[in-house]
């Protein structure tokens, strides 16, 4: 028993542990998601996070210890943001034809998400640093952290809010779109995908990608647009106050 504890102490302190645990848990969550017929409630990010956080808490493993291994996955968010140029470039013809409309929808939708978050946080009396960390929550986590840092929020909090936002979008998007009467024809998938990429960034886009390839492509387009617009506009607007 004592040997087992020592082995565990050794294993859990190496980067190997965080990296392996993340991949294994995610693949299990992904398998569950497929088994559940890709139901929204079975979202693999949600259950991976819950399982890993519960496992770390139960074994008394500190988050920084876990992150020393998981950072190798986290690091790929940067190149992934750069890679968003690929779906944008592939849809450059549609962008050229309807670019203005996509920009308007992304701009108004992204502004509505950010402004309503800040306004609600203010109305509910949340502290300023929490409010500022909520502003970039519709943008993908690494960019949200950068933006939050620029406007005086807390990067770590911004990342958490971005992940929670992505999960809310991925979990509830389908029901909201159904209630709004957005169909599942081609324009419907475009609107659903683009909205998920705009308001629920990468996690919403990943969900869109799994539900319908067209929705996924429009979500990736929205995500790329949102990243560029939010990174420029949120610090600019925050500077006025």
């Amino acid at each position: 028993m004592n040997e087992f504890v020592q082995l565990w102490v050794y294993l859990s302190s190496t980067p190997l542990f965080g990296l392996t645990a993340t991949l294994v848990v995610y693949l299990l969550a992904q398998a569950l998601y497929v088994r559940a017929g890709q139901a929204a409630w079975a979202n693999p990010v949600l259950w991976s996070v819950v399982a890993l956080a519960a496992g770390l808490t139960a074994t008394g493993t500190a988050y920084p210890t876990y992150f020393s291994g998981a950072q190798f996955i986290h690091f790929l968010l940067g190149p992934a943001v750069v890679a968003l140029a690929w779906p944008l470039w592939q849809r450059r013809a549609a962008l050229r034809a309807h670019g203005g409309r996509f920009v308007i929808a992304g701009l108004v939708g992204g502004t509505a998400a950010a402004a309503s978050a800040v306004a609600l946080a203010w109305a509910l009396g949340l502290p300023t640093e929490v409010m500022l960390s909520l502003a970039p929550k519709s943008v993908t986590a690494p960019v949200a952290m950068g933006v939050a840092e620029k406007i005086g929020g807390v990067p770590a909090l911004a990342a958490v809010f971005a992940v929670l936002t992505g999960m809310v979008g991925a979990l509830s998007g389908k029901y909201l779109f159904d209630a709004l009467g957005i169909g599942t024809d081609a324009p419907g998938w475009m609107a659903r995908g683009f909205a998920l990429g705009t308001a629920a960034h990468g996690i919403g886009a990943a969900r869109a990608l799994q539900v319908h390839p067209d929705a996924g492509a429009w979500a990736a387009l929205a995500l790329g647009l949102q990243v560029v617009m939010a990174a420029v506009l949120i610090p600019l607007v925050a500077g006025w106050f």
Partner: protein, 127 residues
């Protein structure tokens, strides 16, 4: 080999992006500057072929990349506990507003089927 070359392109452009972002104090984070640079570089076939191989893989597993940050929620449980209900209300309601406004607006702005739009070039985006 192509995927390795593609990953190298992504990292090189991200690095240039970081240098430009910090050096010129641009409002855009480094990876976003890298995205804009890649958008131009993709018109060049050698970059396009190698980046396509790795971009489809990275974006196809995008949700995995959020797990390490997501687990970080456990560090902020006290804050989430203190403001839990209010934070949940803010996050849920503002996300719904963002989704609804975007979807309804785009639906009104582009009422035609995307198939009537010029088709995407090359393969059909991240799968």
């Amino acid at each position: 080999m192509n995927a390795l070359r593609g990953l190298t392109w992504l990292l090189v452009l991200q690095s240039i992006g970081e240098v430009l972002s910090r050096g010129l104090q641009l409002p855009l984070p480094g990876p976003v500057v890298g995205l804009v640079l890649l958008l131009g570089a993709l018109n060049w076939a050698p970059v396009r072929d190698s980046v396509a191989a790795v971009a489809d893989f990275l974006l196809g597993h995008l949700s995995l990349l959020f797990v390490p940050v997501g687990v970080g929620v456990m560090v902020h449980l006290d804050l989430l506990g203190r403001y839990g209900l209010r934070l949940a209300a803010v996050v849920v309601v503002s996300t719904w507003i963002g989704l609804a406004v975007t979807a309804l607006l785009l639906r009104a702005l582009i009422p035609v089927a995307p198939s009537e739009l010029p088709p995407p070039n090359e393969s059909a985006g991240p799968q």
